[in-house]
Amino acid sequence: MFHLNKPDDLKKAFYAEKYLLADNAALVLFLAGEINKPVLVEGPAGAGKTDLARVLARTLGRRLIRLQCYEGLDEGKALYEWQYGKQLLYSQILKDKIAATISDESDLAEAMERVFAFEDVFFSERFLQPRPLLEAITSTEPAVLLVDEVDKSDPEFEAFLLEVLSDFTVSIPELGTVSAKTMPRVVLTSNSSREMSDALKRRCLHLYLDFPDRETEMEIIRLKVPDLGETVAHQATAVVDALRHMSLKKSPSISETLDWAAALVSLCVEHLSDDVLDRTLSVLLKYERDLAQAREKRSELTRAMGKA
């Protein structure tokens, strides 16, 4: 349905979805489709990793299936779960049924057969609740599978994920082997809270999404907060850039820039003054310590605003 033949086409399609795709990101996404590889996207929080996958799905006209990773996530929760509630209900109905069935039978062996036949139903797809990984594998329409914040998962889970990604086949003890009907596009994101294994990385193309430079961030503001005046936008990106050069506990990310931009619009700011900066700085910085440091170095920020 969509023919995105070149990195440039991808860039345009992303732009239409209000996402400014960097050249190298467009190239990597394009190549991933061409040579059929998962993409591992690393970068600081709020650099646009999750959104990248979301917009990719939209531009390809595919469904997005998201697996959010966390410490303690295991195969079961990622793959499938038995709906034991339903199973329980079914077993109640079955109890009476079985009693009736067996009483009909004179032959013990045959009675057993019948019981087993009922039992098989317990572990059929009817009671299976697919979780994201199985959903992506069994999807009849090709999907985009987002494995979000994979660095939060445990090493054991990573090993399991690696297996799934290498042949898109999983085995469910009670049901047997399930193979992918269509190949999902896979995007993994990581905040680099730990290094992923070499084996996993070998299998992926790698994309490093850093914070954008000032020009690019201006563009993103124009896309997402078009009501912000040019002058203020210039000043705002200058401040954000200056803040990113301080050694803060948490540098402002694109989401914070956008929140700030929206706040400035709602305050009808046309020119950033020291006073406005002071009152709105907490939108950009989340830690008391960072705020204190930024206020201490206010002259640097004022200078940056002045130059813009």
């Binding site: 050249d23 190239l27 061409e34 034991y84 109890k95 445990d154 290094e195 070998r202 994309l207 490093y208």
Partner: protein, 467 residues
């Protein structure tokens, strides 16, 4: 696959970046899907397929610039021929040479008739046979190599041969060699360009070797050296390796806890496992325990005798607190002081320097293990519980002061485990004033840990191996 790609992969590997065959194949497949009209596309493709660690990106950028710099042999094709039409001139020269009695070196022929591919091969072969690409830092030998290369290619001889051939053609007047002036200018420019290319090739190899030399101060090489011998900047250079280790230790401690014991009763699995029984549920199931967050209490000797060891270990502890939320760090010499908040307030360099200098200690000289352990047991014992791993870092050389074994017993009794890392080799543990043999029976794990490689082994094998 591109020969240049394989060469570049070798160059990456020389500099410590792992590149697998599979990744090379990916790179080559990816390149075949692209029109490489821009250099940046070529570069970004290699980066996405070959470089998988963020911290290797700057190194990749440097190496790419070195390897694919414009002084490459293929730059020959970019010779500026001014107003001339190189195609016509090439065929004219081809004619002259084929008719001439003068034997001209095949290399010169390649250069003048535009067979640059063949010429590139000759030159790269020569670089390899001469071993320029393997030379150790010897910038001064650049001229030497350049001269040898010119001599081996017989550059001056070639010039003379060509001159003779052209003169002969002019003399005989045969075959209308167009405008003689244009031909000889074309020859001049081609040779000048060739000279440029040769010298920039040699320069590039020199840059590469200088780079290799710089990179040799790399974590792989300092790993085997005793921590005692390392300089401050080398210890700081270990940061990435230390980072890796800290995360690994966290994984180790978490995994082990996870398998620890049974957790809550699990209705779901009990039901599933027992569904076959129809009625009662005889086989009870318990949910696996959630991975308990590991807790670490570290006691680090910062006395003179273990100076570099403790700097390194403090760096390790600083990093550890970034991956494990519950780390409390203490330093001691003659007494003991907590540095947990110091680690929170200062950046790594300052924090390690302050702690290593014994900041907060009342008796920063004369190590007294007994007094320090007793002080810990008295003031901080509640910090230790059944989830806590206590790590002691030091040489257990207690200046013949009483070891206060009972303090260590009290700690070990409460802790989940006690790990002692000693920078000295096991052979010296019972010699002199070392009381390692007295503390040892109270520890879950003791290990010699005098260099980075040993620490790695301790964390990877030792702690992972036993239950």
């Amino acid at each position: 696959m591109h020969a240049s790609l394989i060469g570049f992969a070798g160059h990456l590997r020389d500099n410590g970046i792992k590149v697998s065959q599979a990744e090379l194949t990916d790179a080559s497949r990816a390149l075949s899907r692209l029109s490489l009209e821009k250099r940046s596309i070529f570069k970004d493709t290699l980066r996405a397929t070959l470089i998988k660690r963020v911290r290797d990106i700057p190194l990749f950028d440097d190496l790419f610039a070195l390897h694919f710099s414009s002084g490459s042999v293929s730059g020959l094709a970019e010779t500026d021929h001014g107003q001339m039409n190189p195609e016509a001139l090439r065929s004219t020269i081809g004619e002259i040479l084929s008719r001439s009695d003068v034997t001209v070196s095949p290399v010169a022929e390649m250069l003048l008739t535009g067979r640059y591919g063949a010429l590139v091969r000759v030159v790269t072969d020569l670089i390899q046979t001469m071993g320029i690409d393997r030379m150790e830092t010897a910038p001064l030998r650049g001229r030497f190599f350049l001269n040898r290369m010119r001599r081996d290619l017989n550059m001056d001889g070639m010039r003379q041969e060509i001159g003779a051939a052209l003169a002969e053609a002019r003399g005989s007047g045969a075959g209308a060699p167009g405008e003689p002036a244009a031909v000889s200018e074309y020859v001049d420019r081609s040779f000048a360009r060739m000279e440029d290319v040769l010298s920039s090739l040699v320069q590039r190899e020199i840059d590469k070797s200088r780079y290799r030399a710089l990179r040799r101060i790399d974590d792989r090489d300092i790993t085997e050296r005793d921590l005692f011998q390392l300089t401050d900047s080398e210890i700081r250079a270990m940061r990435p390796a230390v980072d890796r280790l800290a995360r690994k230790l966290k994984d180790r401690l978490s995994v082990r806890l996870r398998h620890a014991d049974l957790g809550r009763f699990d209705l779901k699995t009990t039901f599933r496992k027992n569904i076959g029984y129809g009625g009662p549920l005889p086989e009870l199931r318990f949910r696996k325990k959630k991975p308990a967050r590991p807790q670490v209490v570290a006691l680090c000797d910062v006395s003179r005798s273990v100076r570099n060891f403790s700097r390194f270990m403090l760096l390790f502890l600083y990093t550890l607190k970034e991956v494990i939320s519950k780390v409390r760090s203490f330093i001691f010499v003659g007494d003991l002081s907590e540095v947990t908040s110091l680690f929170q307030q200062y950046d790594v360099h300052e924090a390690v320097s302050l702690a290593a200098a014994g900041c907060g200690l009342r008796y920063p000289v004369g190590t007294d293990y007994g007094a320090s352990l007793a002080q810990f047991a008295e003031e901080h014992l509640p910090a230790v519980n059944s989830k806590t791993t206590v790590i002691v870092l030091g040489d257990a050389r207690t200046n013949r002061l009483p070891p206060r074994i009972e303090a260590m017993e009290a700690i070990a009794e409460r802790a989940r485990k006690v790990i002692w890392l000693n920078p000295e080799s096991t052979a010296t543990w019972a010699l002199g004033d070392s009381v390692m043999h007295l503390y040892r029976p109270l520890c879950t794990d003791v290990a010699e840990c005098g260099n980075l490689a040993q620490l790695t082994r301790v964390i990877e094998d030792h702690l992972g191996g036993r239950a």
